[in-house]
Amino acid sequence: MKGLLLKESLVMIKNNKASLLIIPIFAVIGIINKQMMFILLIPVLLAMLPLGTMTYDEISRWNFYVQCMPVEKKRIVSSKYLTVVILALAGAFIVGCIKLIYDIAAGETDHRVIIMMIITAFTLGLLVPCISIPLNLKFGTAKGRIFYLIFTGIICGVLPSMFLSDDKNFTVKLAKLTGHFSVFSIISVAAVLVLLAVSWTISSMIYEHKEI
């Protein structure tokens, strides 16, 4: 596992130096513009890195070669997810730090908002990879991207109509939930961890049965 994680990080760093340089630029722009939502692009950017590595693996045929090494298929999948989790945690940490610095500079610190932003950053960092990784493993990264767009397109098409029709007071219930800080925090973290577990299980099953 250590070798696989090393490979993931080396490939990510060597291929994404420019992307990593953008992080402090985003932070500075967010602080200057007083736009904390802009800072949330950082975890999204970090989440894209392991997906890019999957494309590089396909191009170099690493995904073929790695199966000739003494590594279980489950570990190969797990190394991808572990990288995603580490980056999501890093994204959440960076967002938390920037928000804290901003609040201290502004002279008002609200720990609830900071925690909310950390949770949102962590969720954003996991959301895209958790949907994309199984699709990439099943269809390859080129087709996987198209299926990802279809998948998210359907969700984005269905959810707004649910909110708009609102015959079950969905919006009111959601507003109450987000207003209740601790419940919202627990449910968000639990939901994203469930998504992570489901995604990992599906990916492991796909990879186990996949022939290269």
Partner: protein, 277 residues
């Protein structure tokens, strides 16, 4: 113990069938898999490595069914090496040290120096020969007992090919070390191998010791009528010319009166493949 034992291996795709392949590579020997493009060489190798699932048959490698731990003892070189393009030799050494339980930095550095591979150059900037040498250096740096090489010399110049063949011969000086190598550059295999397995259109045409093959099969030159009168099983392939017909025959099945001349493995491969077509 045999290095590889394949029994009745059958694998089907759309328009292709690897049909009941059975072969044995004894420990300490080198076997060459010969066959035209698409004959089933890579499918056989991928099945041995567990990269492809097969419908029927069994494969034992170093006495075991394929498993992740066993791959510590197998050095693999694929025709497309499969290392990340952005990484350099140092990075790759660091990764492999943490992947193989019996990795040897000393061996790796020795091969890197021997092959004059630059340590800080990106793998993506390597020539085809350098990439192949790096793959061989990795395969030889974790105390593997068996090397499985899929077309390691294709696309390389004769000098590099010769260098690689010498290294492979050196590897089998240890009597526990074995090699399975596929190639359609038959002359390379003829230099290297103890055993030859010839796969054609998914079927194993023959699997025999190289010296036995070269002794048993001979060229004859005769009229077409004379050749047609021979035992059907004796003629492995023929080429009809304007004035005479050249055939490769099983020496044991033809009358002693025929004058014969030696064949090469390449002749045997070409004549047999054409006869089957």
């Amino acid at each position: 113990m045999n290095a590889i034992e394949i029994k009745d291996l059958t694998k089907e795709y759309d328009g292709f069938k690897l049909d009941n392949i059975s072969l044995v590579l004894p420990s300490g020997c080198i076997m060459g898999l010969i066959g035209e493009n698409g004959a089933g060489k890579s499918t056989t190798i991928n099945s041995i490595l567990g990269l492809k699932k097969y419908k029927k048959g069994s494969i034992k490698v170093l006495g075991q069914d394929m498993n992740a731990k066993l791959k510590n003892d197998i050095g693999v070189v694929l025709d497309e090496v499969g290392l990340p393009e952005a990484l350099n030799v140092k990075n790759i050494g660091t990764i492999m040290r943490n992947v193989y339980s019996n990795w040897s930095d000393d061996d790796f550095n020795r091969y890197i120096n021997k092959f004059s591979l630059p340590e800080n150059k990106k793998f993506g900037d390597f020539s085809k020969g350098m990439k192949m040498k790096l793959a061989i250096a990795i395969a030889l740096s974790h105390n593997a007992k068996l090397l499985i090489l899929d077309e390691p010399t294709s696309g390389l110049d004769p000098l590099v090919r010769d260098e690689i063949i010498d290294i492979l011969i050196e590897f089998t000086r240890d009597e526990d070390h074995s090699i399975l190598i596929s190639s359609h550059i038959v002359s390379d295999l003829e230099k290297l191998c103890d055993y030859i397995a010839f796969i054609h259109k998914g079927k194993l045409m023959l699997c025999e010791e190289k010296d036995v093959l070269l002794e048993r099969y001979r060229f004859i030159s005769a009229t077409e009528e004379q050749i047609n009168e021979l035992d059907h099983d004796a003629v492995k392939g023929k080429k009809v010319g304007k004035f005479s017909t050249e055939a490769i025959v099983d020496q044991e099945l033809i009358p002693e009166s025929f004058r014969t001349s030696p064949v090469t493995i390449e002749d045997l491969f070409v004549f047999m493949a054409k006869e089957e077509n």
